[in-house]
Amino acid sequence: MVEGKIIRVAGPLVVAENMLNVRMYDVVKVSEKKLIGEVIELKEDKASIQVYEETSGIGPGEPVYPTGQPLSVELGPGLISSIYDGVQRPLDLIRLLSGDLVTRGVDLPGIERKKKWYFKPLLKKGAKVITGDILGTVQETTLIVHKIMVPPGIAGEISKISEGEFTVEEPIAEIKLTDNGKRLTVTMLQKWPVRIPRPYKEKLPPDEPLITGQRVVDTFFPVTKGGTACIPGPFGSGKTVVQHQLSKWADAEIIVFVGCGERGNEMADVLLEFPELKDPHTGEPLIKRTVLIANTSNMPVAAREASVYTGITIAEYFRDMGYKVALMADSTSRWAEALREISGRLEEMPGEEGYPAYLATRIAEFYERSGKTVCLGSDTRIGTLSVIGAVSPPGGDLSDPVVQATLRMVKVFWSLEDKLAYMRHFPAISWLRSYSLYLENISNYLAKTVSADFLPLRSEAMKILQEEATLEEIVRLVGIESLSPKERLTLETAKSIREDFLHQFAFDPQDTYTSLKKQYLLLKIIIFLHHQCLKALDAGINFRELANLKVREKIARMKFNPEEKLEHFDQLEEEIKKGIGELKNV
């Protein structure tokens, strides 16, 4: 292709002329250093290019080489357990090649070419196939069977398919196309442009919760498999810990974790911890179901913009195989800021807070790539993709444009409050401001798998917490003595819900994950005590004695009760009855 010539360099933005033959969002290589860039604006023969690497030392007159391809990710066996930068370059291999620092112009494919995988066909020669049909499988890790699908836009008849060890570039099958009778060679390696959502047959409403083992999430503000959620909060309120907890414990089959413009040391934490930690559902190391994208805050800003797209395209690919996938993006604000920075350099008219006017559209497009979908192919397999985005608004101010644009899209809002974080109440998710719009969707599931009174219990607990907020206002004005015994009991129970249920130690081996069953029992015992106390109050028992019940201390320690010994909860119910009974006898 004809090469262009640089005329302007301003930070991550490069303008080149003689670029008539490139298209929007094509990838180009800038200068002899071959820095990766993407065309983001075309004006006559001039192209504005956002460069994914540091541009120091680049100047006018240097060449720009078009590749004719949009920014794409490579898809195939070898994705799982990888750690990529924002444009899918494997960071572990870069380290081998260029040392501890990320140097420029390193060009490494996203998927290892030399490694051989054992391909096991599922279909035979002569079978008719359409896009999305599964040709065969590769056991990628002990947890993940990688399904090799017929690439999009292809339909025909298998004329050749072979079992055995192949690299991702070697042909595994041949398809005779229905349209023109041509024979198409299929390899395990496929490409997909990151900015275009991967196709599916049909979207369905999500109706199954994504079980995360986090009590405040699962019981109070659940997200679904295929749903969307956002976590806005000021710094230090625990966004990252929540994201890490979800990616550790969520019962998705594949986790894609995008560290977008965040801290290097935190990425190191994930990298060192995930191979060690065991998935509670399978007992295998978490890394065997995880793809990591790390573009830390000091890595080039434009690659940060690309990283969320790289992540979601990989996530969609696994969804298309019929997996339950969850994508965590930490933090989408950094992505939005990258947009703003590039937009500023393009001298575009700014919208709110200097963000480009298309910010909301971009955010909407991103979150809409989630969902529960019927995948392409002859079978009707269903895949889900949940998207959970952290947002870091300046000063924790929720009127920030990124938060507002996100809230319009997502169905679950976990509002982190710094006041809770100061008390080291973690997760610092505010029970008053957060919401989940999925309760209706998953009520059937909860009734079937846990108990029919799960949601009623939740509503009652929520009501108690709401009342607590109102009562506290009164206490603030006129003092605690002005409350009736029943109201004081409400405060006592609310405190118990907060401290014994909502508060969860991420770093305690027992408390870090709670099964739905245990969550239910834990909440039930708190509410049970509440009801028993209410009755006792009616029977004329003094509030103070109820507040000082010995059994309260036991309830407080129930969250450390091992999952295997849930029968303890029944014993506790007896103890409550006994404890209150003794009061009556006095």
Partner: protein
């Protein structure tokens, strides 16, 4: 020989525009020779065809468009480094100002550095004992962490930073240790405080200082932290030393950034600071950490004064989003005469969990600190309540919490400038304070821990 350009087209603020140039690269360093033969340095901010925008570090005073000669040096800004830098003092652009001999460089390093590959990073988990209870016990510092002190004008952040630099050590190990100190736009007196403190304790021998004072060129400050961090990286990753970097005051750095942005007529972000300030700060702060297989480490303590003590101001706000926690100083505690006035509640160390516990500090550390946080938070809330309603409206338990909060501030947070508490002392002190509360309220600590560590009776001094 470099080509000289006499074609300065315009001068505005710290920026000059040179035209009719050829082959100039982005980020290159430029030398501007005035009519008086004075040479100033600058950096290329933008190249547009033959026009080059240069940002001058020393300001544009006395420059004119007709007689200034501009040379481009074909490379970025470099810092000559050598092991002899220890004990020396440099200006904000890395030139010696202590009347000592010139540095004979072992090599020259680009001050912008390159990002550490996240895959190469080793997770910071070695506990640093600073001897300050509010840090060690509550917001523990670990090696490789970046933990800013967010302060306000008139608060003793310098005292605290000097105390940390003096006392910081990793338990049970004797290792090569160095301090790199970068001053940006601070006053002579403040800089002098650090220098004389380092001299007094003998620490100066293992310290490198980069000093840009308040009356030095503001734009020079943009390079000062990068100089310091380049120097720190050299000592940490090539000379196997554990380096503590103190950057003060980041607020002045950010203001210099804003000045350039305004001169370039860029679209301003919040409070006039440029939209890329997050990225810019990150390229400095992220130059901390450990690398797999390397012995040394870089621990960063940036200091920033929050305008109007406002934590949501863009400078502390963006800093907090990048650093691994923060130590916030409180004016209220300072007024009460408490030193160090660390407000432990909004303070945070994100890397604490990995640095504490058995073998690192003590098995009870995580839970006792969580308990102290919870109890102190409650005590503080109740104190506010007591102000409105009067003590009489509070229950007995509430009063215990108030007493706890007071004692916590006076006994635990409060300590001497030269008092170096061991981690055991700090934790035991915490347990002593917990005797003020009823045992049923101690929900964050385990029963075994209560059994093992909680004194059986209230200590007389409480």
């Amino acid at each position: 020989m470099y080509k000289e350009y006499l074609s300065v087209n315009s001068i505005a603020g710290p920026l000059i525009l040179v035209q009719e140039t050829e082959g100039i690269k982005y980020g290159e360093i430029a030398e501007i020779e005035l009519k008086t033969n004075e040479v100033r340095r600058g950096r290329v901010l933008e190249v547009n065809r033959d026009k080059v925008l240069v940002q001058l570090f020393e300001g544009t005073t006395g420059l004119n468009t007709t007689e200034s000669r501009v040379r481009f040096l074909g490379r970025g800004i470099e810092l000559p480094v050598s092991a002899d830098m220890l004990g020396r003092i440099f200006d904000g652009l890395g030139r010696p100002i202590d009347k000592g001999p010139a540095i004979i460089p072992e090599k020259k390093l680009d001050i912008n550095g390159s990002p550490i590959n996240p895959y190469s990073r080793d997770f910071p988990e070695e506990f640093i004992q600073t001897g300050v209870s509010a840090i060690d016990g509550m917001n523990t510092l670990v090696r490789g962490q970046k933990l800013p002190i967010m302060s306000g004008s008139g608060l003793p952040h310098n005292l605290l930073a000097a105390q940390i630099a003096r006392q910081a050590k990793v338990l049970g190990k004797e290792e090569k240790f160095a301090v790199v100190f970068a001053a940006m736009g601070i006053t002579f007196e403040e800089a002098n405080f650090f220098i004389s403190d380092f001299r007094r304790t003998g620490a100066i021998e293992r310290t490198v200082l980069f000093i840009n004072l308040a009356d030095d060129p503001a734009i020079e400050r943009i390079s000062t932290p990068r100089m310091a961090l380049t120097c720190a990286e050299y000592f940490a990753f090539e000379k196997d030393m554990h380096v503590l970097v103190i950057l003060t005051d980041m607020t002045n750095y950010c203001d210099a950034l804003r000045e350039i942005s305004a001169a370039r007529k860029e679209v301003p972000g919040r409070r006039g600071y440029p939209g890329y300030m997050y990225t810019d700060l990150a390229t400095n702060y992220e130059r901390a950490g450990r690398i797999k297989g390397k012995k040394g480490s870089i621990t960063q303590i940036p200091i920033l004064t929050m305008p109007e003590d406002d934590k949501t101001h863009p400078i502390p706000d963006l800093t907090g989003y990048i650093t691994e926690g923060q130590l916030i100083l409180s004016r209220e505690l300072h007024r009460q005469g408490i030193y160090p006035p660390i407000d432990v509640l909004p303070s945070l160390s994100r890397l604490k969990q990995k640095g504490i516990g058995p073998e690192r500090t003590r098995d009870d550390h995580a839970n006792i600190s969580s308990q102290l946080f919870a109890a102190y938070a409650r005590g503080r809330d109740l104190k506010e309540l007591a102000l409105i309603l009067g003590e009489a409206a509070l229950s007995e338990t509430d009063k215990m919490f108030i007493k706890f909060a007071d004692q916590y501030e006076n006994k635990f947070v409060q300590q001497g400038e030269n008092e170096n508490r061991s981690i055991e002392e700090t934790l035991d002190l915490g347990w002593n304070l917990l005797t003020l509360l009823p045992k049923t309220e101690l929900k964050r600590v385990k029963e075994e821990e209560i059994e093992k560590y909680l004194p059986k009776e209230i200590k007389s001094e409480l």
